[in-house]
């Protein structure tokens, strides 16, 4: 039997009908020749042929494939049953859509972080090399000279390429006359970058090897497809055109293909420049190629055919040992990690914690949804017990009945999956809007084929979880019902037991989800009201970088000296200052030694957080000064170098138990070893992680120690964003080409960046908890109502024999409460074990916070009590007369 015949049954039937018709005509003709009348001839022919329909049916049957036929029959049957119960169908599909939608959305995050390959050909063969400070660190960038040595000494690699993130001011006027200067984010790359990654430019060419040999010699650039489209209007003749980067002329030689968005998942560069041009693009950029202590480069490569990762690792171990001997001041004890790019991503446990937590939560939500659907299906199946028994009695096989149930589950799962993918797609769009990253930064969430496969697998698993159990229990119950010829007792039947197990696990799961949600919600609320150590309201942050325009450090200083007094004079401005870093946005740590202090490990230098700030910074931030003074305009490059430290710094490294006063005048030193005198002590303030304990912190005067990029802090009387346009105008008046990199308010930064992770976890986990709670309540309500329905007769008899309303109420309620209490107990025990696993993400709240545990237990118990009280109340209204005549 061929498939084409099966699908063309209609056609073949028509063919046969025509053939039989032609037979009739031929026979009729013959009969007429034999002397019959027209009608007799026709009738005789028909008689001779027999029943035409029977013949056609026989042939039609031959063209059937029984599996497909029965499938079709089951589908039509399912369609009819589902249409008959629109409410049931809607609840089931909605539950599944919620579960699968949440899973799809969260998996898209996991996919972006852990599964999506880098967009280059044969991404699986891409090897990453890290040079870490120790075996434990596992991650670390390399210096350019390390890279050069790796290339010279290793034999395992077909090619090694190096790159480093860079930003620059771009003036595209040479290529597009009316375009404005703007900031571009890009990569400094070695000459073999594109050839090593196997990426072919779609316009022009990649870099030539000789373009990356001599510092400053070849000002060439390759641009991204996105930049080509956005700024250069997809100009096909872009090659050879000139643009300015940080004030220096560069020639565009090629455009990267659209698919290539850079070698990192978190960063999508718009421009690629040879490493040898670093001095033209960033201030002091020449040093990054010559200093072994400058570790800013990432290394990627491909192995030679036949070489394994382990062999390459062994070779790199030898090279690192040699380098440690040759350059002890920079390379002592450093180790190399050779991994595939994918393995490197997955080795980062800290980055896995958040997606892991969310994934765990959504899987629990899906399980809840499945349990809910399963118990709904069982209730429906039990109400169809008689129908199923009849089907079994007249000879339907048990397999056929189970198949029918599974078809129903599969149809529901397919619809739920479709709904879930739509919902998940909407969530992914919402995520993208919520994530505080630019178009260049941060992972890209997409509904790609891996995410769809995951959604399909989740749905398939759901069919088995929620479909198989009701199918088996229903058929088993029906089977025993016929065999024992008595109605199965409502509480003993197999499916009744299964439903109670299901409802217990639902309550348990929702307890776990609610407790998790509660803990994260509490952490989030706490994070909002945490004292940051400075006043975040009415603070405008304008980040500028005159070096993007090619300014030297001295020119930048003059620029700021011109600009700041103008801003301070604006109406509605209380004070103005500057800093190199802003809490929650950026930060840095430098090696520093404190005279008279040696760390327990004997090390003189400590790696401590620092910021380089301007005169009046602490007054503007409203960070209280505890002792001494803060920086002033007189702390210039020519004056003696001074520092301000926070209280933790002073107490931990200088005064230990004494008074803070003795820290004033103490000397600290950077690697350069010149003395820096502490002139002030300020109160601790946050470093950028809300709720984290205070860290030792030292501040240096920005005129004495800072790069040109600064953030201007403007403390305003009223709404800080209202004053932003005026600030921009003043900025443009000083130099129209120095555009602000960003204009933000401090409260916006805290809400967007500082509170982002606590908020997203709190919102998602609380939402999952609420979904779980409502599913559990619906489930419990269903089970108890069903129980009441089945025991109507019994309740009627009890009432007829004189049972009090209260006794009946208690009896029914006890059933529901027992289930809820069991589930709650299991859930709380589970949560006690599980929540410490995510303790690292719970800032400021204990993972076993008693307040949350108790309130969730109370709330859940109250909800389940209500869910069983409503049907229990109905049971007391049973009229004994009606009940006794029931059945």
């Amino acid at each position: 039997m061929s498939l084409s015949r099966f699908f063309r049954r209609k056609y073949w039937d028509a063919q046969r009908a025509a053939e039989l018709e032609s037979y009739l005509e031929i026979e009729t003709d013959r009969n007429i020749q034999a002397g019959m009348t027209n009608e007799d001839a026709r009738a005789a022919a028909r008689r001779k042929l027999g029943n035409m329909t029977t013949i056609r049916e026989a042939i039609y049957e031959m063209n059937s494939i029984s599996v497909l036929d029965t499938l079709w029959r089951d589908l039509r049957f399912t369609y009819r049953t589902l249409c008959k119960r629109p409410g049931f169908t809607a609840i089931v599909i909605l539950s599944l859509a919620l579960g699968i939608g949440a899973n799809t959305a969260i998996f898209s995050l996991v996919d972006a972080l852990l599964f999506r390959p880098v967009p280059v050909p044969d991404a699986g063969g891409l090897i990453a090399i890290d040079t870490a400070a120790s075996r434990l660190t596992q991650f670390g960038n390399s210096s350019y000279l390390d890279y050069v040595d790796f290339c010279k000494r290793s034999r395992s690699f077909k090619g090694l390429t190096v790159y480093q993130q860079v930003s620059a001011g771009m003036n595209p006027a040479g290529a597009v006359p009316d375009a404005k200067p703007q900031i571009v984010y890009g990569l400094l790359v070695s000459g073999n970058f594109f050839s090593t990654l196997d990426v072919q430019p779609i316009v022009g060419r990649a870099f030539l090897p000789e373009e990356d040999r001599v510092p400053g010699k070849n000002p060439v650039a390759v641009i991204s497809y996105a930049l080509w489209k956005r700024v250069f209007a997809s100009d096909p003749n872009i090659s050879g055109k000139e643009i300015k980067l940080s004030g220096h002329s560069f020639t565009i030689v090629g455009v990267a293909p659209q698919s290539f968005t850079g070698p990192d998942i978190y960063y999508r560069p718009d421009i690629y420049v040879p490493t040898m041009m670093s001095a033209m693009v960033i201030p002091d950029g020449g040093e990054i190629l010559t200093e072994r202590t400058w570790r800013g480069f990432n290394i990627l490569g491909r192995l030679k055919p036949g070489v394994t990762v382990a062999q390459a690792q062994a070779e790199m171990n030898v090279i690192m040992r040699d380098l440690g001997r040759e350059h002890p001041e920079s390379n002592k004890d450093t180790v190399a990690f050779v991994r595939t790019e994918m393995a490197r991503r997955r080795a980062d446990n800290d980055a896995l914690l958040l997606p892991g937590l969310l994934m765990g939560l959504v899987i629990l939500v899906l399980l809840m949804a499945c349990a809910n659907v399963a118990s709904l299906m069982m209730a429906k199946a039990t109400s169809r017990l008689r129908e199923i028994s009849t089907q079994l009695a007249i000879g339907a096989s048990r397999g056929a009945l189970i198949r029918q149930f599974l078809t129903e589950s599969a149809v529901l799962a397919a619809l739920g999956c479709a709904g879930g993918v739509l919902l998940g797609g909407a969530c992914i769009r919402a995520f993208t809007a919520m994530v505080p990253f630019s178009s260049q930064d941060g992972p890209e969430f997409r509904l790609d084929s891996r995410v769809l496969v995951y959604a399909a697998l989740a749905s398939l698993a759901a069919v088995f979880v929620f479909g198989l159990m009701p199918a088996f229990t229903a058929v088993r119950d029906a089977w025993s019902a016929i065999n024992t010829r008595t109605s199965v007792s409502a509480s003993r039947s197999f499916s009744a037991v299964a439903r109670r197990v299901l409802i217990c696990s639902q309550v348990a799961l929702s307890a776990v989800l609610l407790i998790t949600g509660g803990l994260f919600l509490k952490a989030f609320v706490r994070a909002q009201s945490v004292d940051l150590g400075f006043n975040p309201s009415h603070l405008l942050l304008v980040t500028v970088d005159p070096s993007l325009r090619g300014y030297s450090n001295e020119q930048a200083t003059r620029f700021y000296q011109q600009l700041l007094p103008q801003l301070a004079g604006l109406q509605g401005v209380r004070s103005v200052s500057m800093a190199a870093n802003v809490p929650f946005l950026s930060g840095g740590s430098w090696d520093v030694s404190v005279d008279g202090y040696t760390a327990p490990d004997g090390e003189k230098f400590l790696d401590l957080a620092t910021n380089q700030v301007g005169a009046g910074y602490f007054a503007t931030m409203q960070i209280p000064l505890l002792r001494g003074r803060e920086f002033t305009d007189r702390d210039t490059a020519k004056a003696p170098q001074v520092a301000v430290v926070n209280e933790t710094f002073a107490r931990r490294y200088i005064v230990q138990n004494g008074g803070l006063d003795s820290a004033i005048g103490h000397i600290i030193r950077l690697r350069g070893n010149q003395p820096i005198q502490i002139v002030g002590i300020v109160k601790d303030s946050t470093s950028g992680q809300i709720g984290a304990p205070a860290r030792p912190w030292f501040y240096l005067a920005d005129l004495q120690e800072a790069a040109p990029r600064r953030t201007i802090h403007v403390r305003t009387e009223g709404d800080p964003s209202a004053i932003a346009p005026e600030v921009r105008r003043r900025l443009a008046a000083v130099d129209p080409e120095v555009a602000p990199i960003s204009t933000l308010t401090m409260s916006g930064v805290i809400s967007g960046r500082g509170l982002f992770v606590p908020r997203i976890i709190a919102v998602l986990s609380a939402a999952f908890g609420l979904v779980a709670l409502s599913l559990a309540v619906i489930g419990l309500y269903g089970v108890v109502s069903f129980m009441v329905g089945r025991r109507t007769q019994e309740i009627g008899i009890r009432m007829a024999l004189g049972a009090q309303t209260r006794a009946v109420l208690t009896m029914v309620l006890a059933n529901g409460v027992r289930l809820a209490a069991t589930g709650l107990g299991i859930g709380i025990a589970g949560a006690l074990v599980a929540t410490p696993l995510v303790g690292n993400l719970l800032v400021g709240v204990s993972p076993r916070d008693p307040e949350i545990f108790v309130s969730v237990a109370c709330a859940l118990f109250a909800a389940t009590l209500t869910a069983s009280w409503i049907p229990a109340r109905r049971a007391t209204r049973v009229d004994p007369n009606v009940a006794l005549r029931y059945e």
């Binding site: 032609s22 031929i26 042929l49 013949i55 026989a58 042939i59 096989s397 056929a400």
Partner: protein
């Protein structure tokens, strides 16, 4: 549920016989359903009456197996009719089935007339 499975033995014998007769008839040249039935009845001196309820399904089955092929043509008295012809596979099948039939007849004969041995 569709009833899948083997037909009873006697049905199979009759069916197989009809297949053989159709193949043999078509060996002489293409013919349409009416002619095939007519020819079988005539050649057997009307001993074998062709059940049309079986003939057309049989034709369908043989075509499905690739032993015969069909096309629309015009009958002797200018009616549109579906003609069948023997394929190469059908010709082989005819030889095989004929010898099987002869074996069967000999075997039955040995049982019915043991004295002839």
């Amino acid at each position: 549920m569709g009833k899948a499975g083997k037909l009873p033995l006697e049905g199979e014998m009759v069916q197989g016989t009809l297949d053989l007769l159709v193949l043999k008839t078509l060996a002489a040249g293409p013919a349409h359903g009416h002619t095939i039935a007519f020819a079988i009845e005539r050649r057997s001196d009307d001993v074998l009456q062709v059940e049309h309820g079986s003939l057309y399904p049989a034709l369908h089955r043989l075509e499905d197996r690739g032993w015969i092929a069909s096309f629309w043509g015009t009958s002797e008295n200018n009616r549109k009719a579906r003609y069948y012809r023997l394929t190469a596979a059908g010709r082989k099948q005819l030889v095989a089935q004929t010898s099987r039939w002869e074996d069967l007849v000999r075997a039955i004969g040995r049982i019915l007339y043991p004295a002839a041995e």
